[in-house]
Amino acid sequence: MSFTQTHHAFVAVDEDGVNDFVTAFFTARPRYLHYGSPPFVAATGITQTEMGAIPFPFIPGGIAWRVDFGLPQIDLYPPNGPLPAPLTMAVGQFSVHAQVRLTVGCGTLDQTGDKGGTITPISTTLDVWAVGGLLVDNFGGGNGNLRFQLDELEVLGVEPESLRNVLDCVLRMMLQAALSTFTLPFHALSAGFLTLTIEAGPEIDNDQIEVWGTVS
């Protein structure tokens, strides 16, 4: 069977290639994996992104926090190994595995006001797995991007279930936000060989992202 099938051009990126692009992106722009508020992150730069503290009444300056994602590892269908229940992966889906370190500034407040409180960072590192699919931004003329959209996320090793559900939701939103910064331009799929007008795909199968189309 030909690669192009009933089309005139075919492009595939296997999961190693996808992870190479992911590594290149987050190595060049690590601030999209590292977020936090002062004093953990004093200012936005290449390495980290400053956000506001979590406001809460009678906590001066709010609650300081920090989130650090490890480099996400993407696995394209079929899965390379079993996924944590209840996650499953079907044709057209990918899984992503990452570690996330959550840090909060644990403050002690001086209720007398005679002296300032202290903030002690407290952290936990969690293993998260998620599954999702691809989104396409097609700008026409062979230009566009692929993006990675999470459908479901599981945090491992957290009890009780209600706490795990809270973390699943919060971390799914956070990891989705971090991954949304990563886009894979159409021209990169073929390392600049083709200006591809997509006719079919992208599909995820055979451990790769597959796209069919014509050369424009």
Partner: protein
């Protein structure tokens, strides 16, 4: 399995190769050579258009009915003494009461003329190309390179050039005194001495210079490949290193040109 794979069928290969044709800039050529008994300085330029691409194993790109569009200019230096008979005005004597008064015999020495000729034409050829992948100067290239210079059918082109030479020679000789009775003879002599075979013998090697090693680049990218441009002070450019590139023709239910890249 390579990180990236791109495959195109023959339809897309035609698009890619025609883009490569359009981007191709063949350097102009110049030199000198023999046109019959004469020496001609020449300069030439050429471009490629059209053609149909088919693919076959092992790694052959067939390019058929490609138009080689060329322009060539010749400049011939012709010593008319070598082709025209000597011409002398005879001595004329007029009898007078004081004796004959005679003019001297005057012989004309024919000049050497320069005949410039320009001709543009198209020669259609077909040739097989091989695939050459190389990393040069920090850039990956996938070139298709002609395997052998094809034979060119040049008789019609040569006949047109001979006719143009005749016209140009005629124009160049019009200003020569006393040439009138000899003009047709000179033109006929020049075109006969040069002949179609001589023009073919010079034009073929000239056009061969454009076809020798003819290379069409179908892929050129920096080894440090830009995935995303810089997006601001905190978002630098995102690059990947293209470690290896291969290209070949693969035959299944379709013939495809397949590019593989390791990132």
């Amino acid at each position: 399995m390579s990180d990236l794979l791109a495959a195109i069928d023959e339809t897309a290969a035609n698009t890619i190769l025609h883009d490569a044709e359009s981007a191709l800039s063949l350097p102009p050529q110049s030199g000198s050579g023999s046109l019959g008994p004469f020496t001609a300085a020449w300069s030439a330029s050429a471009s490629l258009t059209g053609g149909t691409v088919t693919l076959s194993a092992p790694n052959i790109v067939h390019f058929t009915n490609v138009d080689l569009n060329y322009s060539v200019s010749f400049s011939l230096s012709i010593d008319l003494n070598s082709i025209l008979p000597d011409f002398c005005l005879p001595q004329i004597c007029i009898p007078t009461p004081w004796g004959d008064i005679c003019t001297p015999q005057i012989c004309i020495s024919w000049p050497t003329i320069t005949v410039p000729v320009s001709h543009s034409g198209t020669v259609t050829f077909s040739a097989d190309f091989g695939i050459n992948v190389h990393l040069t100067g920090g850039q990956w290239f996938v070139d298709v390179v002609i395997l052998a210079i094809p034979s060119l059918s040049l008789d019609a082109e040569a006949a047109a050039i001979v006719a143009a030479l005749g016209l140009a020679a005629s124009a160049a000789m019009l200003a020569i005194p006393f040439i009138g009775p000899f003009l047709a003879l000179a033109v006929a002599a020049i075109t006969a001495l040069i002949g179609i075979a001589a023009v073919t013998g010079l034009l073929g090697p000239i056009l061969g210079l454009f076809l020798d090693g003819l290379t069409l680049t179908i892929y050129q990218q920096p080894q440090v490949f830009e995935v995303l441009p810089a997006g601001g002070p905190f978002d630098p450019q995102v690059n990947v290193l293209l470690n290896a590139v291969t290209a070949d023709v693969e035959v299944s239910d379709k013939n495809e040109l397949v590019l593989r890249v390791d990132v």
